[in-house]
Amino acid sequence: MDLFAQILVNGVLLGGLYAVMALGLALVWGVLNIVNLAHGAFIMLGAYLSWHLYTYLGIDPFLGLPITAILMFCLGYAVQRGLLNLIVRAPMFNTLLITFGLEVVLTYLAQIAFSADFRTINPSYAGAHISLGPLVIPLARLMAFGVAIVLTVGMWVFLLRTRLGRAIRATAQNLVAARLYGVEPRHLYAMTFGIGIGLAGAAGGLYGTVSQINPYIGATLTAKSFAIAIIGGLENPLGVIVGGLVLGIIESLTVAYVGATFGDVASFGVLVLVLIVRPSGILGKTA
């Protein structure tokens, strides 16, 4: 019983981390209709950024998250403004191609710049834990989970309540009407992509604190984020939390009770199931 509870806790915390990773991808996909295959590569860059801030400037990875996010936001804004806006209304296939290309370029530039050495962001509390009776809760993961909740709820409030958030939603729903009301789509697209990449950067900082960083972590993170975005649905940031939790818990239980090679089988199995039963995601509207 203790084991089951512990596995469940592990799954929930893993799900939190997954949710932060997928948050930016879901936003960009939902609003711009761009499936950003370079999302994982941006997470990787965010992780390196946090690592540099921590290693050379001694900035705590959690306190450094806003810095990482802001710098990554600027990068994202520039990439959308200079590159992706050229193809934003082109067929989906073109956006897939260009973001895939971006993924490759970022990954190899990262290897040239940072080498293939493994890095870890290892503050004193990275291995600390809280004991709750027989349960052990890793502190860094708990903090990452907290950040996930704050960011997701923050995103939700931002999209519903602020002027910019409303403009983003309006553009996603009806571009022509939004333009009639004075929305400048090029700037708005770049803002949205910037926010998405800023979130990816923050996710990278968290990932580096609980796992390890090398230039090649991007592709698998993109695949995970993609699955979570589909499972949770794109309409509502809260869906991403649900998607992340579902995936985290299912993976943990499968690894423990079915076999350690079946984690991915289970998570992508759920993905297929969701696509069949609720194509717009668990929290999405049913058609």
Partner: protein, 402 residues
């Protein structure tokens, strides 16, 4: 706007390509290889590139290879397989059929050597490889593949022997391994060793290569109250395993890993948390290992560090031994004829900085694994064929008592 972008894109592409293509020299004896310079295995792949280049430069500097009565120079034709097995197979075909290299050196990792050795066999051109240890590579009756890594099935051999001599003696063992050719071979070889030593296998779990989350497995290890954990996997997985063991406060009496521990980069990434981890290596930079070109292993290690900026581990030494084996065989055969060189390789028996190079009937070398442990962030040999070398730090204390 779009023109500037195109130019920028081209510049970036050009820069990326410039890094890929390595110069090939039209010199006398060309050795061909495809290794992982980019992609997920780039971290270990570089050992082979650096080792091959270092050995070839050194041998050329000392006069080159004596073929009959002529002295000839060596050259290297190297491709980056981007950590992609299919690409590496195509590159070996290209090396043999288009570049017409004289002899082949190997890639890193068992799954690569397993696939690429089919090419050397098909074209009947000898390949000496120091990157694949899986027994599978050498169990197919192939005649043109030779390996300088000790058999995977015996990686944990010396470790299991040591387990029976530790006090308090561990009884329950967990065996975790990744689902690739090398690690499956390790697990297959370790099970009978554990049974023979009278140890109970409390957990026997295969996991997906590149897994990043070990929380479930670690919770099971804690729950099963395992004394010793043996993990056969890749460096990234083992980094995650150790970090997550700490954050879940899982501290068995000992844990040991097939890779990572001998590598300086791995220990640096973990810092103090690498302490107490056991591993194994078939090579240590000892002055006792004499070498015709480098003097001895200790001098080699110093020169290597000075040249590349990081410490060599057994991968690098094994790569150098491959080049030396090819050179010795060409000199013995007096030609670069594939058949003659193959037969000469099979008969080799010479001392090198890596150990005595002599291949068994199946093409694989046999070297004893020395058990090593990280103690105070330094690598310490703990147990070898003659028993304990230095005192192992055992049992491992709880994480909060370190």
């Amino acid at each position: 706007m779009s023109k500037t972008l195109t130019r920028l894109g081209c510049a970036l592409l050009g820069a990326a390509l410039a890094v890929y293509t390595l110069p090939a020299f039209a010199k006398d004896i060309v050795l061909g290889a495809s290794v992982q310079l980019t992609g997920s295995s780039a971290n270990t792949g570089r050992y082979y590139r650096d080792a091959y280049e270092f050995a070839i430069d050194k041998i050329n500097e000392k006069g080159g290879v004596k073929v009959g009565d002529k002295q000839e120079k060596l050259a290297l034709k190297l491709y980056d397989n981007q950590s992609n097995v299919n690409l590496s197979v195509r590159q070996y075909v290209q090396l043999v059929s288009q570049d017409k290299v004289d002899l082949l050196l190997g890639p890193f990792a068992s799954n690569f050597a397993l696939a690429d050795s089919a090419i050397s066999e098909k074209y009947k051109i000898p390949m000496v490889q120091g990157g694949g240890a899986s027994d599978q590579i050498f169990s197919r009756g192939f005649k043109y593949i030779f390996g300088t890594l000790a058999p995977a099935s015996n990686y944990f051999g010396s470790t299991v022997e040591m387990l029976t001599k530790l006090d308090p003696k561990p009884s329950k063992v967990a065996l975790l391994y990744a689902d690739d050719a090398f690690d499956v071979s390790v697990a297959k070889g370790t099970r009978p060793l554990l049974k023979k030593a009278g140890l109970t296998i409390a957990m026997d779990e295969r996991y997906t290569s590149n897994a990043s989350d070990f929380n479930s497995l670690l919770s099971q290890i804690k729950n099963a109250n395992v004394d010793a954990v043996l993990v056969a996997g890749h460096e990234t997985e083992i980094l995650n395993f150790i970090r997550q063991a700490k954050s879940l406060a899982v501290a068995p009496k000992m844990y040991s890993f097939t890779v990572g521990v001998p590598s300086a980069d791995f220990r640096k990434a973990l810092g103090k948390d690498a302490d107490y981890a056991f591993g194994m290596t078939a090579w240590l930079p000892s002055p006792k290992l004499k070498d015709k070109w480098f003097g001895d292993a200790e001098q080699f290690a110093k020169a290597y560090k000075a040249k590349f900026g990081y410490d060599p581990d057994y991968h690098a030494a094994s790569g150098v031994a491959d080049v030396e084996a090819v050179v010795e065989a060409i000199e013995a055969a007096g030609s670069t004829d594939h058949e003659k060189v193959r037969d000469a390789i099979a008969k080799l028996n010479f001392p090198s900085l890596y150990g005595t190079i002599a291949f068994a009937e199946n093409g694989q070398i046999d070297l004893a694994q020395t058990v090593i442990q990280v103690q105070d962030e330094k690598l310490v040999p703990v147990y070898d064929a003659n028993g304990f070398v230095e005192k192992p730090k055992y049992p491992m204390p709880a994480w909060n008592a370190r």
